[in-house]
Every structure is written in C-alpha cells, then in structure tokens.
Symmetry: C2
C-alpha cells in the first residue's frame, strides 16, 4: 500500500474510525493517483474504488498490485454488497465539506451506517504539508510560469487584445505543461481595477498598465503568479500604489516562516494599506497544490499557523474602482526559519 | 421582477415556503442572469444577492432597477443581519443536492432557521423546459457546432495529433462562440474505445477511425454533438457496429416526443444492442441547457417522461475495449408530437 493510504489507515485508527468514504476527487487523486470519477471506500479489510464503465480501462492502467486497491464497476454492485462494505463498523467517516446533504442521507440509507462521522478536513489538512515530490512538481510549474512570463513580455505589443495575450499564455502552458491551473487573467487599463477580471477585446495601448495572473500544472500540481507592469513608461499616478503593494509583498515574504500566524500576517498588510487609505479586499494568500486554492488560507478570517513545507501564495493587491489595480503574487515554500520563493520573476517596475 | 424570479415566488407560495436560499450558481444565473460567486436569498420582502468585493462591480453592471435585487457585500453583513433575513419565516427552502452537509449545519446556525426544508430540485425541474430565448441560444450553439465540424473535416490531415485537432476546435469556438461547453474529445484508432477519451499525441493515420465529441456556448447555453468518421475508407470491421449505432440513434429520434418514457427509450436501445452481443455502457442521453449535463437524464436508472420543449441529447454508443468505438450524438428539441434535431451534421458514413 502506498504511504498516503497507509497514513490514512493510521489516522483512522487514532480517530476510532473502522471505515471511511472519500468522495472528493482531489483527495482520491492525492491518496491513490486515480484521476477519475468514483468513490473510494476504506473498509475494515479492503481499499475499494467504485467507478463506472467510462473509467475502468483508465483506472486499471494507473494502478499496480502494490496499490492494493480493488476496482468495482458501479453496475456490478448489489444492494447487499453496499450493506456489507461497512458491516460491523461502529464509526464510518465521511467528508462533510464535500458531500451534499442529499448524499449524506443517501449514504446512511445505502450502506446502512450506524454512525456517519464528520472527519473535519483530515485529508485536506494533511495535504497542506507537501512532500519532496509534491514540492518538486510545484517548483517545476513555477519555473515554467517564470519562463512563460518572460516569453509574454516579449510577445505583447500595443494593438493586441487581452484575449489574444491570454490565448498565447494558454498555448504556452498547453505545450510546456499540463495546461493552465486556472483561467488566465489578463487585464489592462481600468480593467486592472477588477481583481477577478476576465480577458476582454480591449486593445493594449501605449502607457497602459497590465495585470496578468497565471499558472500551470505539472503532474497535477499548480503554480500561481501575478505581475502588474507597464507599457512604455511607469504611470506617475500608479507609483505610490505599486510601491505600497510591493513593500507589503516583500515584508510578507520576510515574515513567512514556520509558526507565523495567518491572521496576523493579513492584519499587518491591512493596517499598512489602511494607513494610506486603501483596503485589502481579498485574502493575502492561499495554499497551492493539487488545487489552485486550498488550505491554508491567509486572510483575516483564518487563524492558523504556517508550517514547514506548506506552499502558499503571497499576493497583496490594491484596486481603485474605475481607475486601476496593482497585484503582485508569488508561490512560496515555507521553511523552518523563513521561506523560499518558488516564483522568481522580477518584482520591481517592469516596463515593456 | 423578471418572470423567472416571479415564477419562483409563486412556487414558494404553493409550497408554503416563506424564504429560500439558492446556492447553486447555475440556478442563480438562470433566475437572475448573475454570473458571479455568491448566494441568492428570497426573503418575505426582498430578493438579496450576497457576494464579495471581487464581483460587486460586475454584478452592478448586469442588474437593472427592474430586477429588484439588492446586492450586499459579504463584508458588510453583521451577525444580526443574518438572523433578520428570515425572521418570522416558518419554512425556508434550501438546495439539498448542492449544499454540503457542513453548509447545511452552518445555515441553520447563521440564519437561525427553524425549519430548513429540502426543495427537491424545484429549479432544476423548471430548467428542463426551455423557453423561446433558451432554445434559440441552444440552436445557435448547435449551428456553430455544425459549422465547426464542417471546418474540422477539411482541416484534419494524416500526421496531425488528436491534441492538435482538439485545439483547432477550441479556437474555433473561442472565436465564434463563448468557448467550449465541455472538454473536447478527439479520439482516434483504438482510443475511440474509451467513451471518455482525453486527446493524446497520437497521430492520425490512413484508415483510422476518429470520434469527436464537441460543443460550445452561446449566452451561457450549450450544444453537444458526437460523430465517428473515417480516414480514407470505412473499415469493414466497423460497419456492423456503426450501422447498429446509427439505426438505434435514428430509431430513438423517431421515438422522442412529449410523453416518451426515458427508461423505456433506453431499454429499447439496450435490448437491440444485446441482441447483437453489445452493451450500452453509458446513458442514452441527457438534458442540455446552462449545463452540458442536466435533467432529464435518459438512462435505465431514470424513469421520467420527456416533455415539450425539453432539449436533450440522443447518443447511443458501442465500445470494444482495445479495438474501437462508435458514438453518434445530436442535440434535440422535444415537441408535442415528435422532435426536432438542432444538430444537422450528416450521420451516414463520413470519410475524409
């Protein structure tokens, strides 16, 4: 059995769970490397993956004997089979943050479970701490993103549309990685004032400000990076905001380390922004891994500690509605006494 | 207030619901045209959309006074506000098929709701029957898909990879529509034996069989079409399977009409396949609308009636593991006494 499934079995023992039902496909991918629709059951004796005809061939091509996972076709499972999976199990865990209320009721009925127990994100919590292979995958995705950014700075010319630039990024990632890790953001001019801008047909002009938020995937693991930069010259009216965002981004990078509190990290940036009459309207950062947004979340609402080998973003931003916005974002590995930025693109004024 | 919100208020009255919480973003888009993260509350007096800073500008740009929707920023809502929204509401509906078990518990706590009531897909059921504008959008998406298929038949040459062909389709849709409605499937040779194939670097050869499953979006509404075709000549070993799939696809189109039973429709195809020693391994079809897969589902598990102005796919397929597969799929509008195919690409042997 692989080390991640073994970890889960040990954790189940310590939580007095005799069985567990894993429904979240990202957690299934994390535990088994299976990338298909289905459900993973750990019963007293067996690891079982239930899928359907569409995926049977694919799943068999991924698994080896060593995985110790039995694959069932949904169509071949009887009512009795379902009731037998968790026979004599006192407590069976489920993912209450993933499973709908309707599915919860259906699980109790179908598996005849006595005590269906909330598992409080146990797998997501484990996923926060990355092992060597996971960090290596994310670092590769970050390198490709740095290279893509270099390419795109040379590519952009006045007259191109935001959509055209986004498409070039997407193609770069399709060729050099497993595609994008989220919908690429290319915002120019006043569109940069929308943190969540969707690329439009607006054409790049001289003296424009441009924000690009982009990332790709390597072996399923994501990168995430944002830069705000300038066409022709740095706009005077933007400098104060840019400097303030960069100062806080660098300060946060200094403050990142094992033990740092996520709420305090956010408060520090919020306070400095407020001193200058600006707001921090979104999170300061988030975990990155198999998902582009995952735990831990670095915001005023989250009160947790960063730990060694977490990988998180550091992305302060300021947005002035109808005018412009500035965001600078790196993907960063937390270490024992500090942090290592996996993103290496430059952060002082970039002019193309 | 728009007609869809008015319909929902009438339905709430008839179900003795004094309030409702809509969490599914597709249902929010259907009811309000809002395409943003957030939650829609219908309280005794107000229609309220709660979102966050990322979307406020965008939402305001969509809504008019006529919509009668009050927009709140999440950050500005106090504990008391939450408790006041459904004050004096006996029964408040929620979407048990969308809301997680954890969110369900949180809703009861946050809104102090006495009786949080399962609403059994009321909105999804209403969405099954399309109005004129919705059908017009789907028909446009189907036309663009027919045109894209014509384009791609001319485009494909031996030596090209499946990925390259899929990219060409995606670009066509990016230019002529709102992009793809699902991940384009291009499968060739033995890859066609996987119903859910992902495009690979396999190169198209002479005497190949190719399956393409593709669709795009217009005003948020989807199209869905599959064709299996041949390079150079029709393979003798495929003809029997192709003919059997096409015969059943045409028969199903004959059988589609208001009142037709989804399980019976499926059984008819299953039985004919079995008579020839083949299986129907996936559904015969599914509804198409704002989602690529939505109710009604046409499979042996579903026991419902087709109704006038439903829009569904008709997609029988046969897959021989390690060898080849054939699927033929149209998007079809159900009418009072029959059906109208919104897909118009030819279905007899196609050779490029």
């Amino acid at each position: 059995m692989n080390s991640k499934l073994q970890w889960l079995r040990n954790t189940m023992n310590s939580l007095d769970l005799q069985g567990i039902i894993i429904s979240n496909p990202v957690n299934i991918k994390y535990l088994t490397n299976i990338d298909a629709e289905g459900i993973l059951l750990l019963t007293r004796k067996d690891n079982i993956f239930i899928t359907d005809a569409r995926y049977i061939e694919h799943v068999h091509s991924i698994l080896t004997l060593y995985d110790e996972i039995i694959v069932y076709d949904l169509k071949d499972i009887s009512k009795d089979d379902y009731e037998n999976f968790f026979l004599f199990c006192e407590n069976v865990g489920f993912e209450e943050y993933y499973v709908t209320y309707a599915d919860y009721k259906e699980m109790i009925r179908k598996y005849k479970i006595n005590n269906l127990v909330e598992t409080e994100h146990i797998i997501e919590k484990q996923r926060m701490i990355k092992d060597k292979d996971e960090i290596s995958n994310i670092a590769k995705a970050c390198n490709i993103t740095d290279d893509c950014f270099k390419h795109i700075l040379n590519y952009i010319k006045p007259g191109m549309t935001e959509k055209q630039i986004a498409k070039e990024i997407d193609e770069y990632y399709n060729i050099n990685a497993e595609g994008v890790s989220f919908d690429t953001i290319v915002a120019s001019g006043e569109n940069t004032s929308k943190p969540h801008a969707i690329p439009t047909d607006r054409k790049i002009k001289e003296k424009d400000i441009i924000t690009i938020d982009m990332g790709c995937k390597v072996n399923g693991y994501c990168s995430d990076m944002t830069r705000t930069f300038f066409v022709g010259e740095v706009l005077e009216e933007v400098k104060e905001v840019y400097d303030l965002v960069l100062k806080n981004q660098l300060q946060t990078q200094e403050d990142f380390k094992d033990g740092a509190n996520t709420r305090l990290l956010t408060k520090m940036v919020e306070n400095d922004f407020k001193l200058h009459n600006y707001d921090l309207v979104h999170s300061l950062g988030h975990g990155v891994g198999l998902e582009i947004h995952e735990a831990p979340y670095i915001s005023y609402k989250s009160d947790t500690q960063l730990k060694e080998n977490m990988v998180v973003t550091n992305e302060p931003g300021i947005y002035i509605p109808g005018k412009f916005g500035v965001r600078i974002e790196d993907t960063v590995q937390i270490t024992k006494f500090g942090s290592v930025s996996l993103t290496n693109s430059k952060k002082d004024y970039i002019v193309i």
